[in-house]
């Protein structure tokens, strides 16, 4: 009797440990394996962008092209006014991220935390603009900017960003609603104004959410395709995303050049994402939300 319990006492941890080990191994396999599946297109693009055209279809495929063919980038760069496209993109994106984040946070605070008669009716307006396909306003806005003589300038891409973006307002409002009201009630009793509550109480608790909408804004504006496509006309006035459209028609099946062009669009985004991710993680740490 005593012997069997002792036996069981000895063997159970071994089985348990083996089980835990297998589970951990499978977890790592899925997490790491999946991450490679997700990164595969990007690796593949990087590889192709540095491969000689004659090596594209070699069997077995070349995994690391040696020596790397940097010339692909030179050919791609000289294809169009690439520097000019990049400059336009940088102007549009940096302006948009700041403008959209600041206004969206303030508007979302108004909807989540202040009280006035028309508030909820107006919020239906926010939801409606989110649901409305951009195409409905695309046509009249284009005609308006056309009348204002702003076609083929960056203004139609900048001005609309000054008024908050429904999607980001919605995200921030939903986030603000999850913050306990007692916090700002306490601040109110201490005589704080709404602006003080927003700055001292709500924003410090919302850094991850704000970082998230800033990243979304960066992504969407950098990748924005349809708006610059309809507003910008002359080749040198395009943004990078639209400029690269010409690559598809010009390079056709010269995939090594096409991939070099894609790299141009993607690398700044990856760099920006790494910078933002730092901010994002710091924000999570600041608010004390544990992972």
């Amino acid at each position: 009797m005593a012997a069997t319990t002792a036996e069981a006492g000895r063997s159970r941890p071994v089985v348990l440990r083996a089980f835990r080990w297998t589970r951990r191994f499978l977890l790592y396999l899925v997490v790491v394996g999946g991450s490679f599946v997700y990164m595969y297109p990007v690796f593949f693009m990087l590889r192709t962008s540095l491969t000689k055209e004659s090596d594209l279809y070699v069997v077995p495929p070349i995994i690391v092209p040696l020596p790397p063919v940097w010339e692909n980038y030179a050919i791609m760069w000289q294809n169009g006014p690439t520097w000019s496209w990049m400059k336009n993109s940088i102007i549009v994106v940096s302006f948009s991220v700041i403008a959209e984040t600041v206004t969206s946070v303030s508007v979302a605070y108004g909807f989540a935390r202040t009280r006035f008669a028309a508030r909820d009716k107006l919020f239906i307006g926010v939801l409606a603009t989110m649901m409305l396909p951009g195409a409905v306003t695309l046509i009249p806005r284009w005609l308006i900017f056309h009348r204002l003589d702003m076609i083929d300038t960056l203004w139609p891409l900048l001005i609309p960003r000054l008024f908050g973006t429904a999607f980001y307002i919605f995200i921030m409002r939903q986030f603000f609603l999850t913050l306990p009201r007692e916090l700002d009630d306490a601040a109110r009793i201490d005589g704080a104004s709404h602006l003080q509550i927003l700055r001292k109480v709500v924003i410090p608790l919302s850094v991850p959410a704000i970082a998230t909408i800033a990243v979304f804004s960066f992504m969407n504006r950098w990748n924005d395709f349809l708006e610059p496509l309809i507003y910008l006309l002359r080749t040198e006035n395009l943004t990078l995303a639209v400029g690269l459209k010409f690559f598809v028609s010009r390079f056709g099946t010269e995939y090594h050049l096409l991939m070099a062009g894609a790299m141009l669009l993607i690398v700044p985004m990856i760099v920006a994402f790494f910078l933002a991710q730092k901010q994002f993680i710091r924000g999570i740490a600041l608010t004390g939300i544990k992972g």
């Binding site: 997490v31 999946g34 991450s35 409305l132 995939y255």
Partner: protein, 318 residues
């Protein structure tokens, strides 16, 4: 404020007291309107960039407006034409098909990946970044990459070749072009993944501990704690997924041009073609209102359905 009220009473000046209380009422009213200050930018933008253009778009949709010629009023004829235009039926069907596969598929994938990324695994920042990178690069960059992956002798067909399968000519096949775009869309789940991950990190730990005390295993915890607590995030992801998916255009414009044989003609692509290639602004505006109606109804239905399954609870701080 209390002290000034007191001084008014002690001086016994009735008119001053009356004006003071009126002043106080006005101040109170102004304070109650403070919210307007925060919302003001949006209100201006809403009138100038949304409400105004919506009304304008409605007017345009009743006009025959070929850019370059003066617009003429033609009543409902744009809408009549739209309802009998086979390409609108085709593009609506395509868009719905894409939505039916893209939205549930990418929600499930994003939820699963977020769950995996919420585990304690060494090097997590690296793995998390790797899952997210394709979404960062969505749009034109990704479209260019997938043109190459889907090429007749591209990577995907190369891999299928290892299993002895002869891959289709994805983007130039009427059967496979749409599935190709749906497959590609599953690489862009990063945004919902981040939203889910943020939500998962807000699920109170004590609920899991309670489930453990009750003898619940891994699946019981997912089923009875994680999913109910995550329903607001799932709902948000579904709502935005449907809205976004009805407005897909970039991939089709770059990768297939709506072809082959209109197999990837999405509704927004058709609007763009009508508006900026054919310059039929009136007709394009009327199609955009049809799209608006569809998205609106789909969203309202989802909101009505949400009452049955979405669970809201204020999260505890920290």
């Amino acid at each position: 404020m209390a002290s000034s009220g007191l001084s008014a009473k002690t001086t016994g000046l009735r008119p001053a007291s009356a004006s003071l209380s009126r002043w106080r009422a006005i101040r109170k009213w102004i304070a109650a309107q403070e919210g307007w200050v925060f919302i003001f930018p949006w209100v201006v933008g809403f009138i100038l960039l949304d409400l105004g253009p919506y009304i304008f778009a409605l007017i345009i949709s009743f006009l025959n407006w070929d850019v370059g010629r003066p617009p003429t009023y033609i009543g409902l004829r744009n809408y009549q034409a739209a309802f009998t235009d086979p390409l609108i039926g085709k593009s609506l069907w395509n868009t719905a098909f894409y939505t039916i596969f893209h939205v549930p598929g990418s929600t499930i994938i994003a939820f699963t990946v977020a769950g995996l990324l919420n585990q304690k695994v060494r090097g997590m920042p690296i793995w998390r970044t790797m899952y997210y990178i394709p979404s960062v690069t969505s749009g034109v960059g990704m479209a260019l990459i997938w043109i190459w992956l889907f090429a007749p002798r591209g990577a995907l067909n190369g891999m299928l070749g290892w299993f002895g399968i002869e891959g289709p000519r994805w983007l130039t096949s009427t059967t496979w072009a749409m599935p190709a775009l749906i497959i590609m869309s599953f690489w862009g789940v990063g945004a919902s993944m981040v939203i889910f991950l943020a939500g998962l990190q807000g699920v109170p730990q004590h609920l899991y501990e309670a489930a453990e005390v009750d003898g619940g295993g891994w699946w019981a915890k997912v089923r009875h704690v994680t999913i109910p607590m995550m329903t607001p995030y799932i709902f948000l992801s579904l709502i935005l997924g449907v809205i976004g998916s009805f407005q897909v255009v970039t991939q089709a414009l770059l990768m297939t041009g709506g072809g082959p044989d209109n197999a990837t003609l999405f509704i927004l692509l058709y609007i763009w073609i009508m508006g900026w290639n054919a310059f039929k602004m009136g007709y394009a505006a009327s199609i955009s209102w049809i799209l608006f109606a569809i998205i609106f109804v789909a969203t309202v239905i989802q909101f009505l359905g949400a009452r049955r399954w979405v669970y809201y609870e204020y999260q505890e701080p920290g």
